[in-house]
């Protein structure tokens, strides 16, 4: 019964402390339901029982306006309930802030509007947090620009990412799978698209994955690598492939305009070519396409030369594809 | 309803029973207003305290860049102006219109002196680039080791600036008082506006009493 209810109310329980938090929820929930029914019952019963009936004379009513017994009960019962809630809340909270010593440390950086994950043995992923199961993982959170908040519903955990400061959260995932990550601190236009996935793997699988991290893409042809990077590096948050404008211009449009002039918001213009694409990825704020807001973060240091070439190659293919 | 008791004084508003109720109401509201003033400054004091606790050394060293003599001079000027303000009320209570106007004028002049000294201080800061926030550019030998001194100067300029704004507003109010008293609108029977503006003026003094040591003496 309780499991079914938990499933109805909550996403899966994946962290070690999730069940504790859900139990706290149900404790408050049941107490609240009881209190709520007392209130509603009292309200309905009294208002109907003492209703002013048709044709009844107006009369002097009772002068009763207090009852020490009732009032002290109203104080004491809620006081007991909230005391339990408080202590339980703090105990569970301490579990959530005391990080086990053997935790793997992963750096999480929020940036408008994607997440970067830096792993202890080097290597970086974007919008995909890969962790081993049954091993504590400590996340060191910060932000490059504005406030973000890193929320993994299945872990029941969440923490703000502050620019220029670290915040800590940790979890110990109990079930393998792919789960949602959301940004829950408003961070601008792309806030609702700033999602990511957490992938929980068997520890052995994780080890293997971690050792291959960064090397797997070496043999891919450039345009295929670019297609992969397009989602992996979160370009798709702001740039579509179908010609519609999101936060930034569509790749398709840029691709179709290859070799033509592009006008910027300060009135200048330039020809779209490899160099332009390269500089607009590395220094996006220097030339802002007319009609758009300059909100793109720099990818300096996040993309290697080969990866940049791959993106440019991918972009060029879009035009050809659409003509076929 | 009788709109007015025929022998009620002209300054008594019709919705009050008597002069005393009106006087007490104004004064009480004035103190409630003082509460809002104190809490406006409270925000800035909190910023000061928090940043001082984060950057204790920077605050102590940065305060040496301020001119204690000018600060002390301003303290003396402001305390004296508080005295003259109190004496102006005392004089009007004794129905001595001439002395009252004289004292108000003295208060006004002291306020002007205060702002003058403040102007000298500010212009020196502008010259050397000890400015708030991103405009800060002073990297002299006595400041180059400081960590984020722009925050100190931000808080300094905002607090003394808001205080200076109060002085300026007070000067406007005092000018109006001089005019009303001279015209004979305020007498020992009715001097509520002077009492209220007096309280305001003393508050300005009171805030400076804290600003002076916090910025000039202990950084």
């Amino acid at each position: 019964m309780l499991d079914r209810l938990t499933e109805f109310f909550f996403p899966k329980q994946v962290s070690t402390y999730a069940s504790d938090i859900d139990s706290l929820y149900f404790f408050i929930f049941y107490s609240s339901v009881v209190l709520f029914f007392i209130v509603v019952f009292g309200m309905v019963y009294l208002s109907i029982k003492y209703r002013h009936r048709k044709g009844e004379e107006l009369k002097l009513t009772s002068s009763k306006d207090h009852s020490n017994l009732l009032e002290s009960m109203f104080f004491i019962i809620p006081l007991i309930l909230v005391s339990i809630t408080f202590v339980w809340g703090i105990r569970s909270y301490l579990k959530m802030v005391i990080v086990p010593d053997d935790a793997i440390e992963i750096k999480v950086t929020g940036q408008s509007w994607f997440w970067t994950f830096d792993y202890p043995d080097g290597g970086t992923t974007l919008n995909e947090l890969v962790v081993p199961s049954n091993k504590p993982v400590k996340l060191v959170l910060s932000s490059k620009d504005v406030l973000h908040s890193f929320f993994i519903p299945v872990m029941r955990s969440k923490m703000d990412c502050l620019p220029n400061r670290y915040n800590i959260m940790w979890f110990d995932a109990t079930k393998e799978g792919v789960y949602d990550i959301f940004c829950t601190e408003y961070c601008g236009t792309g806030h609702s698209q700033m999602g990511a996935k957490v992938i929980v793997m068997q520890p052995a699988q994780y080890e293997e994955w971690a050792s291959e991290l960064g090397s797997e893409d070496d043999d891919l042809p450039l345009d295929e690598l670019g297609a992969k990077l397009y989602t992996k590096k979160a370009c798709n948050t702001c740039h579509t492939l179908d010609g519609s404008a999101l936060v930034g211009p569509s790749y398709l449009q840029t691709s179709q305009m290859w070799g033509q002039e592009r006008v910027f918001d300060d009135g200048t213009s330039t020809v779209i070519d490899d160099n332009y694409i390269r500089s607009s990825i590395l220094e996006p704020m220097t030339q802002i396409v007319a009609g758009y807001q300059g909100v793109m973060p720099t990818y300096q240091g996040l993309l290697s030369d080969r990866e940049l070439d791959a993106l440019i190659a991918f972009l060029k293919t879009l035009n050809e594809d659409s003509q076929i | 309803m009788a709109h007015h008791n025929p022998d009620a004084p002209s300054h008594l508003k019709h919705y009050f029973h008597d002069v005393n109720q009106q006087y007490e109401t104004s004064k009480f509201a004035m103190w409630a207003f003082i509460l809002t003033e104190v809490l406006t400054f409270a925000g800035l004091f909190v910023a000061y305290i928090v940043y001082r606790s984060w950057y204790p050394n920077m605050f102590i060293d940065a305060h040496l860049l301020l001119d204690v003599n000018k600060g002390l001079m301003n303290t003396i000027v402001l305390i004296t102006s508080s005295l003259t303000m109190a004496l102006a009320i005392w004089a009007i209570q004794k129905n001595n219109k001439r002395l009252s106007v004289l004292m108000l004028a003295a208060t006004f002049i002291f306020a002007l002196v205060f702002l003058g000294i403040k102007y000298l201080e500010y212009s020196h800061k502008f010259e050397v680039g000890q400015l708030p926030g991103e405009f800060y550019s002073y990297m002299g030998p006595d400041a180059v080791h400081l960590n984020n001194p722009h925050i100190f100067f931000s808080i300094y300029f905002i607090m003394t600036g808001l205080h200076g704004l109060h002085v300026a507003i007070g000067m406007g109010l005092i000018a109006w008082l001089i005019y009303s008293t001279q015209k004979g609108n305020l007498t020992s029977e009715y001097y509520t506006p002077m009492e209220m503006i007096g309280i305001f003026w003393h508050l300005v003094d009171l805030i400076w009493i804290y600003l002076f040591p916090l910025f000039y003496l202990i950084g």
Binding site: I28, S32, H52, F86, C187 | Q21, G133
Partner: protein, 540 residues
């Protein structure tokens, strides 16, 4: 005398200037009411636009940018231009001097100034809308608000200015309650609405200055980069949140305390029963106002403040819950052995008890730190504060309007339509916001213009019912104003609910320009239904 009876504040003196320059608290209250309702509709319209966008995932109707503007303006307008000024500014202004037997508030000129300052601030808000909106959220968290290219400065300037209006109203009410009561009207004989307004005013004058200085610092951060709130310049965004919530949490009590006051009036009058625990309700108003200043950090449980302050804030938060709970029980017990009439105001009061209890109880979930970390910034929070703000304050406000409408304006609305609209508000409200609790528990973050497929079902329910809610509120308000337009007048001596406070027993409906024909003499307490039978007199 009969000539005099026909003269009331609405028809005397005449002329547009007599309204624009009026010093009469009742006229100022009416002007507040009209402008407040207009902003209420504007904010409501924005809410409906958002709800319809959220009916399905993806950007169906509006883009991310417009959605972000819409929710920011919805929040800012509803809070700063409607809820905070509405009850004190409209109902408080009209009723407070009447309830204490005064001819006017202590400072009528200040009162008028307060209205014009409010209007001036509102102009900035309107300018913001025309000029392309603002997209930071009504909380203006740094550093987003220092970087955003939208109209942060006009909006914060507007809020800064409106803050002064709020302070002046508060000052005026405090002075009025302290000094303008008629002889014999001691503190314990004051109607509880007056106590509530008094508590509200104390919070207003204490908290609002901090908002003002916070807005100034935010603007300076944008102009000068002062480095107090901007982390790139050595500042601390969490400190901004402390500053902001030092005002904005007490502001919750600025919004809800007057609603408590209205309910404390409606229930005894319509139950014809002495109120249960008068002194408790009076003191709990003040204690809630005070404790409200100590708990702001529960808005910051995931911000990265110190563990120590997390624990302290969680602890103190529960102390607000207990007096509030006892208040709810007191209101219910007031009906015990009374004569309860099911009138539109009473329906609103009962709806308030139902909705506010849910709002209050869900607050307990959010006060438990460990649980709040999961629920923070999700739709659970959205649902919770709408249950408190709309289910609590706005429902009470509508109840108060229905209660005092014949008194204030001398006209009676269609009670059947009013009852139906009240039912529509109640059902529509629950339909809109109850699914949002579930959304939040399942992890739907707030302030999202688009969302995951998994949430679509609950979102579409919510949207469907929001339409019903919008229509019901519109009907409820229009029903009131229609009675005014149709001049469905009641006899000036009417006391349709049998109220016992001075505004019902000692002045006409609508009241005389100077409130009372002659200074009222207090004959009984505000809720002495056990000592005096006050007849319900309602004649057309």
């Amino acid at each position: 005398m009969s000539e005099n009876m026909k003269q009331n504040y609405l028809n005397h003196p005449k002329g547009i200037m007599s309204w624009l320059l009026t010093l009469d608290h009742k006229r100022i209250g009416l002007m507040y009411l009209v402008s407040g309702i207009l902003f209420f509709f504007l904010g409501g319209l924005l809410a409906l636009v958002m709800r319809f966008e959220l009916a399905a995932p993806g950007n169906d109707i509006i883009s991310n940018e417009i959605y972000n503007n819409a929710y920011t303006l919805h929040g800012a307008i509803m809070i700063f231009l409607f809820i905070i000024p509405a009850i004190p500014g409209a109902l408080g202004n009209i009723l407070l001097p009447l309830m204490v037997g005064a001819k006017d508030v202590a400072f009528p000129r200040l009162n008028l100034a307060s209205f014009y300052i409010y209007s001036f601030g509102a102009l900035f808000a309107l300018y913001t809308i025309i000029n392309g909106g603002v997209d930071t959220g009504w909380t203006f968290y740094t550093p987003y608000s220092t970087q955003s290219s939208s109209n942060v400065v006009p909006m914060t300037l507007g809020i800064f200015i409106i803050g002064f209006s709020s302070i002046l109203t508060g000052l005026n009410f405090i002075a009025t309650v302290h000094k303008m009561r008629i002889p014999g009207l001691t503190w314990y004989k004051l109607p509880l609405f007056v106590w509530a307004l008094y508590g509200t005013s104390l919070v207003q004058i204490t908290a609002t200055p901090v908002l003002a200085i916070t807005m100034v610092l935010l603007m300076l951060e944008r102009f000068l980069g002062i480095g107090i709130f901007d982390p790139a310049l050595g500042g601390d965004p969490v400190l901004y949140q402390h500053f902001f919530w030092f005002y904005s949490h007490p502001a919750v009590y600025i919004m809800i305390l007057p609603a408590f006051g209205i309910i404390s009036e409606i229930i005894p009058v319509h139950s014809r029963k002495k109120i249960w625990g008068y002194k408790f309700i009076a003191y709990s108003t003040l204690s809630i106002a005070f404790i409200g200043f100590l708990v702001w950090g529960h808005h910051m449980f995931t911000s990265g403040q110190s563990v120590f302050s997390q624990i302290v804030f969680s602890f103190i938060t529960y102390f607000v819950g207990i007096p509030t709970g006892v208040k709810i029980f007191s209101w219910i017990l007031t009906m015990y052995k009374g004569q309860v009439s099911f009138t539109p105001p009473m329906f609103y009061a009962l709806a308030f008890l139902f909705l506010f209890t849910i709002g209050g109880l869900t607050g307990i979930f959010l006060g438990a730190v460990a649980l709040d970390i999961h629920l923070h910034d999700t739709y659970f929070v959205v649902a919770h504060f709408h249950y408190v703000m709309q289910g609590g304050t706005i429902v009470a406000f509508l109840g108060g309007l229905h209660h005092w409408w014949p008194k204030s304006f001398g006209v009676m609305y269609n009670q059947t339509i009013a009852n139906i609209a009240a039912l529509g508000v109640f059902i529509g409200f629950n339909g809109t916001f109850f699914p949002q609790f579930l959304l939040g528990l399942r992890g739907m973050p707030r302030r999202y213009a688009t969302y995951d497929e998994q949430f679509v079902e609950l979102h579409s329910y919510s949207t469907f019912w929001s339409g019903i809610l919008g229509i019901s509120i519109f009907i409820a308000v229009m029903n009131l104003f229609w009675s005014f337009i149709k001049r469905n007048k009641v006899d000036p001596g009417s006391n349709p609910w049998g109220g016992m406070t001075l505004e019902w027993t000692h002045t006409s409906s609508p009241p005389h320009p100077h409130n009372f024909e002659e200074e009222p003499v207090l004959q009984h307490g505000p809720y002495d239904y056990d000592k005096v039978i006050v007849q319900k007199t309602y004649k057309k």
